[in-house]
């Protein structure tokens, strides 16, 4: 209460109306749980000052305040008036560290649309583009490598981390060059594993196609790896989800199509290639069939740390245009749950592996908890835990790796929005890439850097991630 009195004293006694408030937080700056009498004319700034003073932090930390799932933008009294809260009611205000206003760091123009981006490789941005090329940029905006991986537009890209994938061969780790295995999915019906070696002089960068993944009969819409980079999931428009390992076989696992005359052309093309350099054709470990429409995304459920030693993570999530989100048991390859809504893209909050964020064409991003109806097998209740409404079609969403509450979503109106899952009514902050004129296709968020890929190429923004 001493802090309150000092705060009151600093504020002056000109306004006497005050509101009982209990502060709570999940940040590393907890206040003792007691009731504060806060003048209702205070805004975020005063509240933030109060907490800083109460905790006597050396370096001032700005805070944002959530009142009943809503970010406090106005004075307390105005908020109370809007929501019809009386003076005597005790408000529970949760405070979070403020997100610094995002700053644009750099801009990487592309010739074609960027369909996928990855910031997983330290020091580089990897982009996959509609012209079928994988590009690697270092932080100095220098194009280190440009690999033509597919003849058709690449739809998805994921990087298999080298330290995890020790048993993936050809991952050479010498002093100068680092090799990464990149999985790409394309509209030419295949996914592909490409080894990309980034040399310190960029001219030394080389690439080699390791294997092509043959299962799908339609556009492969996404590819994703699990945390150990040992397994891949591909999703395709033919409604199938393929489960693959990252082992590159020495022989083709898929037999050459027993041929009719029609494929002579293709065969001739294949034969013309160097047989040794020819990428091996891989067959899937398992095919997950349950979707009735196009599958837009399939991802592994993040495993808790103690389970990383297991070969399989066990669970996977997928969403598709048949208006469902499905939860898969990878051990048995069966669909466990279904949530009904039309979905474009999805992600999982890494800290809470049962929370799914799914984007829909009805301009909403919905947060689902797949655990909730575990008792009943089959269709999950389609009631979302939280719904985040966008003004345009959202296309991609990334959850923060360090903060369980923060996520960014990109939409077709070119606006990237930073959300807090506790504040559903509005984004914490937002910024426009390419002046909000071009579509955002994909994003990645790593260490406070958001890579935004889309119609206008690649943009890199700094978005603060607070530690949870």
């Amino acid at each position: 209460m001493a802090s309150t009195s000092t705060a009151n004293a600093s504020n002056g006694n000109d306004d006497t109306i005050s509101q009982p408030v209990v502060f709570m937080t999940e940040t590393q700056y907890p206040l003792p749980s007691q009731k504060f009498m806060i003048p209702t004319s205070w805004r975020r700034y005063q509240l933030s000052q109060l907490i800083n003073k109460a905790l006597s932090l050396e370096k001032p930390v700005p805070f944002d305040f959530l009142v009943r799932g809503e970010l406090l933008h106005t004075t307390l009294s105005e908020w109370c008036k809007e929501n019809g809260v009386g003076e005597e009611e005790t408000l529970e205000i949760e405070y979070i560290e403020s997100v610094m206003p995002p700053q644009k760091m750099s801009d990487f123009p592309h010739e074609d649309w960027v369909s996928a981006i990855s910031c997983q490789v330290p020091g580089y941005f990897l982009t996959a583009s509609y012209d079928g090329q994988i590009r690697a940029f270092d932080y100095s905006k220098y194009l280190c490598a440009s690999v033509t991986a597919h003849a058709a537009p690449i739809t998805s890209l994921c990087v298999l981390l080298p330290e995890e994938s020790t048993n993936v061969m050809d991952t050479t780790t010498d002093s100068t060059n680092t090799s990464y295995t990149i999985a790409t999915a394309s509209q030419d019906l295949t996914a592909q594993l490409t080894q990309l070696t980034l040399g310190t002089p960029p001219s030394l960068s080389t690439s080699k196609v390791l294997a092509t993944l043959h299962l799908h009969t339609s556009t492969v819409s996404s590819v994703s790896a699990d945390a150990s980079s040992k397994h891949l999931l591909t999703a395709s428009w033919d409604g199938l989800i393929g489960l693959w390992d990252t082992f590159v076989p020495s022989e083709d696992e898929v037999p050459e199509p027993t041929l009719n005359e029609r494929d002579r052309k293709k065969r001739r093309k294949l034969d013309s290639e160097n047989d040794k350099q020819r990428p091996r054709k891989k067959a899937p470990l398992k095919v997950l069939k349950s979707h009735t429409g196009r599958v837009s995304k399939a991802i592994f459920a993040p495993t808790p740390l103690e389970r990383t030693t297991n070969t399989k993570s066990g669970k996977a999530y997928s969403c598709g245009f048949d208006s469902t989100v499905r939860v898969w048991d990878l051990d048995h390859g069966v669909c466990e749950h279904t949530i009904v809504k039309a979905f474009l893209n999805m992600t999982v909050i890494p800290q809470t592996p049962t929370s799914i964020l799914a984007l829909s064409t009805d301009r909403t991003m919905s947060l689902y908890d797949v655990r909730s109806p575990t008792s009943t097998f089959g269709s999950l209740s389609s009631s979302a835990v939280a719904t985040f409404v966008h003004p345009a079609t959202p296309s991609c969403v990334v959850a923060s790796e360090v903060n369980a509450h923060q996520l960014v979503s990109g939409a077709y109106d070119g606006v990237v929005r930073v959300w807090d899952v506790r504040s559903t009514k509005g984004a914490i902050s937002s910024f426009k890439s390419w002046e909000g004129k071009k579509k955002i296709m994909s994003m990645d968020w790593k260490k406070g850097v958001v890579g935004v890929g889309g119609e206008g190429g690649l943009e890199v923004w700094r978005v603060g991630e607070e530690r949870a």
Partner: protein, 749 residues
Amino acid sequence: MANGLGRKSVKRKQVDEEHETFEQDLGPNGTLEMLSDEENEGDVSSDDGQLDEFPEIVNESDSDESDEEEEEDGEEEDGGDEEYESDGAESDDSLHVFPKSKTVISDITKQPKVVYPEIEPEYDSDSSTEDAPNRVGNVPMHWYDDLPHIGYSIDGQKILRPARGDELDKFLATVDDSSAWTSAFDKNAQADKPLTAEELDIIRRLYAGENPDADYDPYEPTTEWFTGKGKEEVMPLSGALQPKRRWVPSKWEKQKVMKIVRAIRQGRILPSKPKSTSKFEPYAIWSERPSDYPPPLPAPKPRLPTNAESYNPPEEYLPTEEERKTWEAQDPEDRERDFLPEKYSSLRLVPAYDQFVKERFNRQLDLYLAPRVQRVKLNIDPESLIPKLPSPSSLKPFPNYKSLQLHHPDSRVRCISVSPDGSWVVSGDEDGNVSLWEIIVGREIKRWKFKGKIGALAWCPRTDISYFAVGIEDTIQFIIPPHIDNSVLSLTQNVLAPSTLPPAPASPSPVKWTTPPSNAWSLDTPILTIDLPASSGTPTHFCWHRKGDYLSSVCTGGVHGGVWIHQMTRRHSQAPFKKIKGSVQTVLFHPLKPHFFVATQQYVRIYNLSEQKLIKTLIPGIKWISSMDIHPSGDHLIVGGYDRKLCWFDLELSEKPYKVLRYHSRAIRSLQFHPTYPLFASSSDDGSIQIFHSRVYNDLLTDPLIVPLKILRGHHVVDGLGVLQIRWCNKHPWLVSASADSSVAVWCS
């Protein structure tokens, strides 16, 4: 008439005289009849009314006799007079209280008149002076039996009982007096009184058994009231038979009626002649008021002046300086009153009212605008007139926002088509560009360039193969999209360019099917080209049959109405119509039956292709049909026209539209039913797309429910052209629209 009138007066006189006679006959017998004498005189002079009825029954034949009768009456009258006089002489005058009247002939007028005798002022003429000493009245006299007196005189003096002798005295008195035996005891006077001669006469008559009344004459002469000469009954009291004419229909009446009937038949008389004449007859419109209206409202009255209006108002009514300023600052219509009170010491100092004319004019305006008729307001809740439609939010999903838009290089995008799996869209513009793009990302994957403008695009509805048809000048090209599975690709190639061509049809067709050699196949060139006959123009409309084997195309020009049906498996084209009336706008295959819909400018004709005959002609009432589509159930058809109308037909009901929707402000360009969702959309030159919910019920009783859901705006109108074509995505409630502003947009739910 003069004769009749004279006769009447004569008769009246005669009757009067008769009456008079009768009175005079009765006169001497009853005193009460005397009053009627005066009446009698009145009758003579004035009383006409009673007798006016009589001439009606006068018989003409009687006229001669009446004169004779008159004379006779005159004689009788004389006789009567004499009789009267004789009676008068015989009767005792003292018995009559009232004087007797006499009828004499006046010397002056020569008319009979009644003369009364002069009243003599004698003592006995007044009955009040009669000697009646005892005034006790009519009381029982035995009350006085024990008293010395027998009553009281008029002065109140006791009248003493006269002395009465005993029986002996009485006897002696009778001996002495000869009149004693004719006297009787008078109780009133308590003495004997001699009876009068009349009393004695009455006694005598009683003794004799006669009528005690001396005046009664049992042998009076007969008075002939209804009999005798001249007094025969004229009333129909006879027992004679009814004359025949009483009961036989009148011949003359019949003749008169027939005359009228004949006149009517010949048309000389119009029985129901129209009353109104051609000439306008002026009439007073205000003379009659309509009865069923309430009386008109009285005109509003001007307010009565108050103190403030006075020329010399009390001080408290005068405005202060601030009030005056605020009054002047206000607008005239905001002022509380339209004047400022001012004070003048006398009336002659008051200036003329400068706004008099204006005020009068305003008052006239008030009167003019005042409602003079009380109108009965229809008390209808406007909400109840709105049809009960479900709210659009309950009918989700439907497209409600523009998800993405992509632009063609500067030219109108005429046509679009969505692949049957709902993931790809092809769009063609007027520059000959056909681009293929993902429906959800909007990224163009491939572009083909043709010469001439693209008139129509249609994706083959088969899901096991994948290709689409492009309509360019005089040709139809078939293109396989890139990045399809090998099996699908080979199957498609097999369909479009089979290694063994089917046998050529017997009759050579003017339509040529050409396939380039297989080594020249590439993704950029069509795998199959259909060359339509020369000068058939650009195909503007394609329609695939549901099974994907037949493609029907409509061209702008050419013979056979420009309609061709191409069969893919047989590589054969045929023109279904030898000749067709009007220019064909669009055609349609029925989704279930072998029916073919052909829309010309104003009519939609339904043909049965297997039986080769016309089934039905629908009349939408549209001046120029632009587009049509059939419901997936096959029972409902929507037709849009360039005159902004959209007609919904129930094919089982009528050839007239079930509903006509006029929601677009410009010409309707395109419309389509959603294949799976209960939706349809229409696009128009006003740049908008309208989404409707259209629920069709399986039972035949319920009408289809059509609910307007959403107007999608976002396309610009360029050169008066708006959204040129719309297509639904098969599996989602998504809509793709092609517009004249060289853009294609995807609308998502």
